[in-house]
C-alpha cells in the first residue's frame, strides 16, 4: 500500500534529479550567494562593518522573499494545474489516492525547494570567517527558513486543493501570508481596544495577549529579526520552528481530509459569467459591442472586467482613499501631509499590483486556452495585436491613476514629486523598472506554465541584487569624482538607457515567441 502511495513522489524525485535545469537552478543559488558576498564586501569597504552579518542577513531576507513567491506560484498551483488541465480524474483512475497525489504533487516540490536552501549552507558559513555572524545564528536562520518553507508549501497545497483555479489559489495563499505576517501586530493593536471597550474581560485578556504574542513570535520575519541581531543567544529550534511545523502539518491534514470533497467532479470549473456581468445583466445593462479595435475591446472586457468592473474599482478605490485618509486624520493622529503620503503609497501599490496582474494574464490566458493560433491568423501584424492588447488594459488603470493623482494632491511633497517625475532621469528610473517588470511578466507568461508574475518579481529582485553589486560601486565612483545633482542625473540617464534597451530586447523576443506559440 505504501509503495503505491509513494509511487508518484518517488517518480517526481527521480525526474527532478535527472533534470539538468534543476541542478542549474541550484547552481544559480550558489551564484546568488557569491554576489551576496561581493555585496557585503563592497559595503564593508565603507564605514559599515561586520560583512559576515551583512552577507548572512541579505541572504536570509532574499530567501524569505523567494519562499513567499514560491508559495504564491509554485506551491499554490500544485493541484489546480491538474484541475485546470482536467487530468485529475485520470490520475485518480490510475489508482492514485489523495495522499499519493498530495505527496507526489506537493511534497516533491517541497523537497526540491528545501534542497535549494541546503545547497547554500556550506557557502554561507563564510559569513563566520568574514565576521559578524556565528554558526548558531546561521543554523537558527536556516531552521527558521526551512520551517517557514514547509508551512508555505502546505498553505499553498491547501489553497490548491480548495480552489478551482490557480489564480484563486494564489490569491488565497496571499491572504494567508497577510494573516501570517500582519496578523500578530494587528491582534496586538486590537487587543487593548477590545479590552477598553469591554469586549475582553478576565482571563480572556491574558489569553488574547498570549495568543497575539504567539502569532507575532511565530512569524519567520520576527524570528529572523531576533536571529540577525548582534549577540543572538536563542535556541536553534524555537517556538517559531515548532509552531510553523505544527501549522504546516495541520494544513497538510486538512488538504488530505478535504481532498475528495474539493476535487469532486461537480465542483470542477464551469463556464460562468462573472459577478459584475451577472449584476449588470440583472439591471438590463449589456456589454457594448466591439467598434474600432476588436482586440482592445476583448482585453478591456475579458481581462480587466470591462465597464462594470471599472466603475466598481473607481468606487472601491475612492472609498479606500477617503476612508484611509479620514481614519488617519481623525483616529491615527496623523497630519494632513503624513496621511496623504500613506494614501499615495497605498494607491501606488494597488496600481502596480493591478498592472502586474493584467500583464500576467494578457498572453498567458491566450496560451492556456490555445487561442493564439486564431489570433495570429487575423490579418493584423503581430506588433499591432500586442499593442492593441496592451492598450485594451490601460483604461482599466484609469480609476487607480485618478485616485493616485487625487492622493498626490493631498500630499504637499507629492506635487513636487509629480513634477520631478516628468523632468528628472532619476525619477524615470522607477517608472522604467516598473515597465521592465511588466515586460518581463509578459515574457515569462509565454515561457512558463504558471507563476510568470512571481518569477519575474524574483528575477527583478535578483537583478536588483546584482545591480547593487555592480552598478552601485560604479555610481559611487561617479559621485566621488563629481558630487553634483547633474552628474547624478547623468548616471541615471545611462542606467535608464540600459533599462530601455532591456525592455526593447524583451519586446522583440515576445514578438518572436508569439509567432512561434501561434504555430504550435
Amino acid at each position: 500500500m505504501l509503495t503505491g502511495t509513494l509511487a508518484l513522489l518517488h517518480r517526481a524525485l527521480r525526474l527532478d534529479a535527472r533534470l539538468l535545469t534543476t541542478h542549474l537552478f541550484r547552481l544559480g543559488f550558489v551564484v546568488l550567494v557569491y554576489f551576496s558576498l561581493v555585496h557585503a564586501q563592497i559595503q564593508s569597504l565603507g564605514l559599515a562593518g561586520a560583512p559576515g552579518l551583512k552577507l548572512f542577513s541579505s541572504m536570509m531576507y532574499l530567501n524569505l522573499g523567494l519562499i513567499v513567491l514560491s508559495g504564491v506560484s509554485f506551491f499554490a498551483t500544485a493541484i489546480t494545474e491538474e484541475k485546470e488541465e482536467e487530468t485529475l480524474g485520470l490520475l485518480r483512475m490510475a489508482g492514485l489516492n489523495p495522499l499519493a497525489l498530495l505527496l507526489g504533487k506537493s511534497t516533491s516540490r517541497l523537497i526540491g525547494t528545501l534542497l535549494l536552501l541546503a545547497v547554500q549552507i556550506p557557502f554561507i558559513l563564510l559569513a563566520v570567517t568574514l565576521g559578524g555572524a556565528t554558526i548558531v545564528q546561521i543554523l537558527a536562520g536556516y531552521c527558521t527558513l526551512a520551517s517557514f518553507l514547509i508551512l508555505t508549501a502546505n498553505m499553498g497545497l491547501f489553497a490548491s486543493v480548495a480552489c478551482r483555479r490557480g489564480g484563486t489559489a494564489s490569491a488565497v495563499t496571499v491572504a494567508l501570508f497577510v494573516l501570517y505576517f500582519l496578523g500578530g501586530p494587528l491582534f496586538r493593536v486590537i487587543g487593548p481596544a477590545l479590552t477598553t471597550s469591554g469586549w475582553l474581560r478576565g482571563n480572556w485578556v491574558s489569553w488574547f495577549n498570549s495568543f497575539s504574542d504567539g502569532v507575532v513570535e511565530g512569524s519567520a520575519y520576527t524570528q529572523l529579526d531576533h536571529i540577525l541581531s548582534t549577540g543572538f543567544n536563542g535556541p536553534i529550534l524555537g517556538w517559531q520552528v515548532t509552531s510553523n511545523l505544527g501549522v504546516a502539518f495541520a494544513f497538510f491534514l486538512l488538504s488530505w481530509v478535504s481532498f475528495n470533497y474539493y476535487t469532486h467532479p461537480k465542483r470542477q470549473p464551469v463556464a460562468t459569467r462573472d459577478v459584475a456581468t451577472r449584476l449588470a445583466r440583472g439591471l438590463g445593462l449589456r456589454r457594448p459591442r466591439p467598434r474600432f479595435n476588436a482586440i482592445m475591446w476583448k482585453e478591456f472586457h475579458f481581462i480587466t472586467g470591462g465597464t462594470h468592473f471599472l466603475l466598481i474599482r473607481f468606487l472601491v478605490y475612492g472609498a479606500l482613499v477617503g476612508g484611509t485618509y479620514s481614519l488617519l486624520m481623525q483616529f491615527g493622529g496623523a497630519k494632513r501631509d503624513e496621511a496623504g503620503q500613506i494614501v499615495v503609497c497605498i494607491m501606488l501599490g494597488l496600481l502596480v499590483i493591478e498592472a502586474c496582474l493584467y500583464a500576467s494574464r494578457l498572453l498567458h490566458d491566450e496560451w492556456r486556452e490555445h487561442t493564439l493560433p486564431m489570433l495570429m491568423m487575423l490579418p493584423i501584424p503581430v506588433h499591432q495585436i500586442l499593442a492593441a492588447k496592451l492598450l485594451g488594459c490601460i483604461p482599466a488603470l484609469l480609476p487607480g491613476l485618478a485616485w493616485l493623482v487625487i492622493s498626490l494632491l493631498l500630499w504637499n511633497e507629492g506635487q513636487d514629486h509629480l513634477a520631478n517625475m516628468l523632468l528628472l532621469p532619476s525619477y524615470w528610473f522607477g517608472g522604467l523598472v516598473f515597465l521592465l517588470l511588466l515586460t518581463l511578466t509578459l515574457f515569462f507568461s509565454l515561457v512558463v506554465r504558471w507563476g510568470a508574475l512571481p518569477l519575474s518579481i524574483a528575477v527583478m529582485l535578483g537583478a536588483a541584487f546584482f545591480g547593487s553589486c555592480c552598478f552601485v560601486p560604479a555610481y559611487s565612483l561617479t559621485q566621488t569624482a563629481s558630487d553634483s545633482a547633474a552628474s547624478r542625473e547623468a548616471a541615471f540617464l545611462v542606467i535608464d538607457a540600459i533599462v530601455v534597451i532591456l525592455i526593447a530586447g524583451l519586446q522583440f523576443d515576445i514578438h518572436r515567441r508569439l509567432e512561434i506559440a501561434g504555430s504550435q
Binding site: 464551469v270 463556464a271 460562468t272 459569467r273 462573472d274 456589454r287 459591442r289 466591439p290 467598434r291 476588436a294 482586440i295 475591446w297 476583448k298 475579458f302 486556452e369 490555445h370 487561442t371 493564439l372 493560433p373 486564431m374 495570429m376 491568423m377 487575423l378 490579418p379 493584423i380 501584424p381 501561434g518 504555430s519
Partner: protein, 318 residues
C-alpha cells in the same frame, strides 16, 4: 473540366519543413482546385498539420513555395489570411464570451463594419444551425455545438478557402452527418474546402479530390476516382444475374484479359477481375449476353478508399 485545368486555390511546390533533425514534410507538392472539396489524409505524424499550418501562414516553411489563390503565404501573409479561414483540430475558444460576442469579435477583427455584422452573423448562425444558441456562453456548449461555433467563426469573414483540421473528431454520428451536410452546402456556395481527416469513408463520400501524405511525402494527389484506379493494376466488375442461373464462372475465366472470375458466395453475383484495357466492360457484358445470362446489374467493383489508403501508406503508421 479536368481537375488540373481548374485554377488552383492552393498550390504547394516542394514544401519541406523540419522540427529539429526530423523532417515533418519533405518535398511535398500538390494542388487543390478552386471550388473543390479536397481531402487530406495520412496516418498520425504524417505531416498533415504541418502542411496545413504552412498553408494558413502560421508556419514559415524551411523551403518550398505555398500559394493560396496565387498569393505567396510568406510574402503576402496578410492578403492570404483575408482569403482563408482555418479551423484547428483542438478547441480553442474564448469560453467566457457568448456565441454572438465571439462571432462579433472576429467579425470586427476582420474589419466588417458594424452595420453589416448583424446580418453576417445571423447568416452564419443559420448555416450552422446555431441561431437559437447565440446568447449562450461558448464554454457551456457541448463539443458538437462548439465545433459549429468554430465553423461559424471561420465563416464569419466569408473566406474563399476553408482549411479544416479534423473537423469531425470527437463528434457523435448525428453531429458528424450534419457537419458533412454543412460542408456540402458551403461547397455549393462556391467555397474551396480543404479538409484533413482520418475518417476515410466520409472523405470518400464527401470529397472530389484527395491528397495522401505519409512520412512527410505526398503519396497521391488527384481525384478520388483516379486514386481508386491507380492504386490497383487490375479492374474488377460485379455482375448480378437472375436467380437459379447456371454457374458461368469457368467460362468467364476463360475470356481474354480476365484474371479471375468467381461467384460471390450466397448471392447471384459474379466478381470478375480483368486487366486494364479499353472497353473491358463491353467485352464482359457481350460475353454474358452470348452465354444467355439474364443480367440484372452490372458495374465496376470499386475499391474502398480504405484499401487505397492502406496500399499507399504501407498499411500502418510510421
Amino acid at each position: 473540366m479536368s481537375q488540373s485545368a481548374l485554377p488552383a486555390a492552393v498550390e504547394v511546390v516542394n514544401l519541406s519543413h523540419a522540427f529539429g533533425s526530423r523532417w515533418a514534410v519533405r518535398n511535398a507538392s500538390f494542388r487543390v482546385p478552386a471550388g473543390s472539396l479536397h481531402g487530406f489524409v495520412g496516418p498520425n505524424g504524417a505531416g498533415k498539420t504541418t502542411t496545413l499550418k504552412a498553408i494558413c501562414t502560421l508556419l514559415q516553411p524551411h523551403s518550398g513555395v505555398v500559394r493560396v489563390f496565387g498569393l505567396d503565404v510568406v510574402a503576402q501573409a496578410h492578403e492570404v489570411r483575408r482569403r482563408l479561414g482555418f479551423m484547428p483540430d483542438h478547441f480553442s475558444m474564448y469560453r467566457r464570451m457568448t456565441v454572438f460576442e465571439y462571432l462579433d469579435f472576429f467579425a470586427a477583427a476582420y474589419g466588417i463594419p458594424m452595420a453589416q455584422r448583424d446580418k453576417v452573423i445571423g447568416d452564419v448562425l443559420t448555416i450552422t444551425d446555431m441561431d437559437g444558441r447565440r446568447n449562450d456562453l461558448v464554454g457551456g456548449l457541448s463539443r458538437g455545438m462548439q465545433q459549429r461555433v468554430a465553423l461559424s467563426r471561420v465563416l464569419v469573414s466569408d473566406p474563399e478557402l476553408l482549411l479544416l483540421d479534423e473537423p469531425a473528431s470527437g463528434l457523435d454520428p448525428r453531429a458528424r452527418i450534419e457537419l458533412m451536410e454543412i460542408l456540402r452546402e458551403l461547397q455549393r456556395m462556391g467555397k474551396t474546402i480543404f479538409i484533413s481527416s482520418h475518417i476515410l469513408s466520409e472523405l470518400a463520400e464527401l470529397c472530389d479530390s484527395v491528397t495522401i501524405i505519409d512520412g512527410g511525402k505526398i503519396k497521391y494527389s488527384g481525384s478520388i476516382n483516379g486514386l481508386l484506379k491507380t492504386t490497383t493494376e487490375n479492374q474488377a466488375f460485379r455482375i448480378g444475374v437472375g436467380a437459379g442461373e447456371p454457374d458461368h464462372s469457368e467460362k468467364l475465366a476463360g475470356l481474354p484479359g480476365v484474371l479471375r472470375a468467381e461467384r460471390v458466395e450466397g448471392t447471384d453475383e459474379y466478381r470478375v477481375e480483368m486487366e486494364h484495357r479499353h472497353g473491358a466492360s463491353n467485352i464482359l457484358l457481350k460475353a454474358m449476353m452470348d452465354l444467355g445470362a439474364i443480367v440484372h446489374s452490372f458495374g465496376e467493383d470499386r475499391r474502398h478508399l480504405n484499401d487505397a489508403f492502406m496500399d499507399l501508406t504501407k498499411g500502418g503508421l510510421n
